[in-house]
């Protein structure tokens, strides 16, 4: 499948002058839009029966996941394989990190095998950047601690843009465990840069300090936070945070911060409900809302995830594949 060159590329500018994708921070709005535009073609492609574009054939993609993951890992694996890459997964249980090897030694070991792209998830903020500094190949952040999860934010933006036709001017309420969420941090920056008004809704114990400085409006009352929202993005509440440490109990949380029909009535009538998954039905979201095909975009988000990741894998390896017009990017 051929696609027309990006207008910015045709004009001689570099549409994505970054060696890695470590976060949304540091990207320009037109670079974010470029990735979203690139992802569009793969949505249709994935739905079709003729999937013969193996542009990453011969390239080795390592998915190094130092933190457990099912869906993100699967999404990256399918994205790589759809494009013909040789995909190798390194899970936390199979890694020598458990045997006491330092993270950088593991990184150097992986680097010595000459992969063409490494996708990394790690439980510590900044870990992916640390590894990227030591590696000679493109690195894609699949989530580092509470810091960033750029492809999740991109897939959320793509879902919103396809459903709503735009991002600019929309009111997006992100609800739940903002404090520990890398998804929220990436989304603040991405949706904010693309012109959305972002709100966060959470109990005070799950709101990070000075979150307003990041350009969002914060609410501790959910009904107020949902008022007139075009998009409601629910976040998963980790079970280990529920029993008294940050909130007193699951039932109290659901009573005040769970997404129910009654609450959702405060939002815009054509509200879009999103969740990065996996969902805790009855904790942060009522099951019937999650299953509502009109309002819920939960499965669509998963679909967009593969498309966005295919676009990122493609863009990050263009220089390496000698694609015309893709110069060496400054480190």
């Amino acid at each position: 499948m051929k696609h027309a060159p990006h207008p910015a590329l045709a004009a001689g500018a570099h549409p994505f002058p970054h060696p890695h994708l470590l976060g949304i921070a540091g990207l320009q709005p037109w670079e974010m839009r470029f990735l979203l535009d690139e992802a569009e073609q793969w949505v249709e492609y994935n739905r079709g029966s003729q999937r013969d574009d193996h542009r990453l054939a011969g390239l080795t993609q390592i998915n190094a996941f130092f933190e457990n993951s099912t869906r993100t890992l699967l999404s990256f694996e399918i994205a790589g394989k759809r494009l013909g890459a040789d995909v190798v997964n390194l899970g936390v249980s199979g890694s020598s990190v458990k045997k006491g090897e330092t993270l950088l030694d593991t990184a150097l070991t992986l680097g010595a095998m000459h992969p063409d792209l490494i996708v990394i998830r790690h439980g510590s903020s900044g870990a992916v950047q640390l590894i990227a500094e030591k590696l000679g190949c493109p690195v894609l952040n699949a989530g580092d601690g509470r810091h960033e999860h750029p492809t999740q934010a991109l897939l959320d933006a793509l879902t919103i843009r396809r459903r709503k036709g735009r991002i600019e001017g929309l009111t997006v309420a992100i609800c739940g465990d903002i404090l520990h969420s890398r998804v929220a941090r990436s989304n603040f920056q991405l949706l904010g840069s693309l012109g959305a008004r972002v709100r966060v809704v959470a109990p005070p114990t799950l709101l990070p300090a000075n979150v307003e400085q990041l350009g969002v409006e914060s609410f501790t009352d959910m009904d107020a936070g949902l008022k007139g929202a075009d998009v409601v993005m629910m976040l998963r509440l980790q079970t280990e945070r529920m029993d008294g440490a940050y909130v007193p109990s699951t039932r109290e949380y659901f009573r005040f911060y769970g997404l129910t029909e009654a609450r959702l009535a405060h939002a815009a009538s054509d509200v879009l409900v999103m969740h990065p998954g996996p969902m805790n039905r009855g904790v942060e979201i009522d099951g019937s809302i999650a299953d509502d095909l009109v309002r819920s975009a939960v499965t669509e988000q998963v679909e967009m995830g593969v498309a966005v990741r295919m676009a990122c894998l493609d863009v990050l390896t263009r220089t390496r594949r000698g694609v015309k017009g893709w110069p060496e990017v400054p480190k």
Binding site: L103, S124, A127, P208, V211, L214
Partner: protein
Amino acid sequence: MTPLYLKGGRVVCPATGHDAVANVLLADRVVIGIGDAPPPADAEVVECAGRVVAPGLIDCGVFRAEPKACHAGGITRIVLMPDQQPPLDDPALVAFTQAMGKPGVWVHPLVAATRGLAGHELAEIGLAREAGAVGVATGRGAIPSTAVMHRLLSYARAFDMVVVTHAEDAALTHGAVATEGDYATRLGLPAAPAFAESLAIMRDLRLAEATGARLHIRQVTTGEGLALVRAARARGVRVTAGITPAHWLLNETAQAGFRSFARLSPPLRDDGDRRAVAAGLADGTISIIASGHDPRSQEGKRLPYADAEPGMAGAETLLALALSLVREGALGLREVLGMMTAQPAALFGLPGGSLSPGSPADLMVFDEAAPWRIDGSRFAGAGNTPFDGLPVAGRVHLTIKGGEAVWRI
């Protein structure tokens, strides 16, 4: 031993108030005198014109004794933290440690306040004092239990030993690696509020006031904490405050890019607190400047920010960074040197820190204006400094310990 004759330097001694061009004669490991007498025939004459001759620095609260790094930084005595392996919680360990730096650097150990620094049972601080401990320290962290801290301060009072504390509320700062605020939120780092420091200071000041004990807060890094210290001083609480250069020269933005060399304990603060620390130095609330020397290996630092060990190597940069206060006009040279010589000597009752006749011949000769660039890879010891690449001025040319030159460039 050949007598040394330091000729024609600007001799600055904060303890005696001397600040004038003069000659200094050292013999038999002590200072013989300052004046304009000609050198004795058998003395080695060291030309010091254009340079400053001052007492060797006394560095309060370092975590590892590294003689080479100390000499390069003009440090001749260190007050060693009890956070060693094993912790200095036993008189025998104190006695052993005290001897380990001789003759190059004299180590004055602080005894651990509690066994194994665990914060539960008091260590034998009286016996440790007899073995050479110059004070008691809670180590890298505060003692979480108010009851234990109360007992410690009352008990230490009987021996008139200074209790050196780390001011961070243990429960609030558990797991935190940064100061709460939008910067830490952006980076996604586990953070604790800056008032975790003032909470700890409030408690310790009240306990010190109740028991009459002497308290030295090794680092006061927030405006709120300094205000508490000021107020307590005014009502007669026996408290002193210290600082390391990082907290008046850097703010939280030094953590950009997850640079683990900027992972310190307490963590770097916002710029308001940084400026408050600078003001606290200028008005004398903070009376002691130390390096906080805590060299870390590559294994300890080349980790994701939150997993990296806190601490910075500081012995070699202490003088140059402290001299920035003089250049800015915040303090005079004599005052700044006093915070690293006479003040710590007085606080812990140490010999040295003075050029009065009969004092130990511990000196340094430095060029106040000599420019250089901090380069961690060229340090004598570990190079984990958040100041890597910073241009500074002030270079030690000669360090003399017990009348012998131990460092010369």
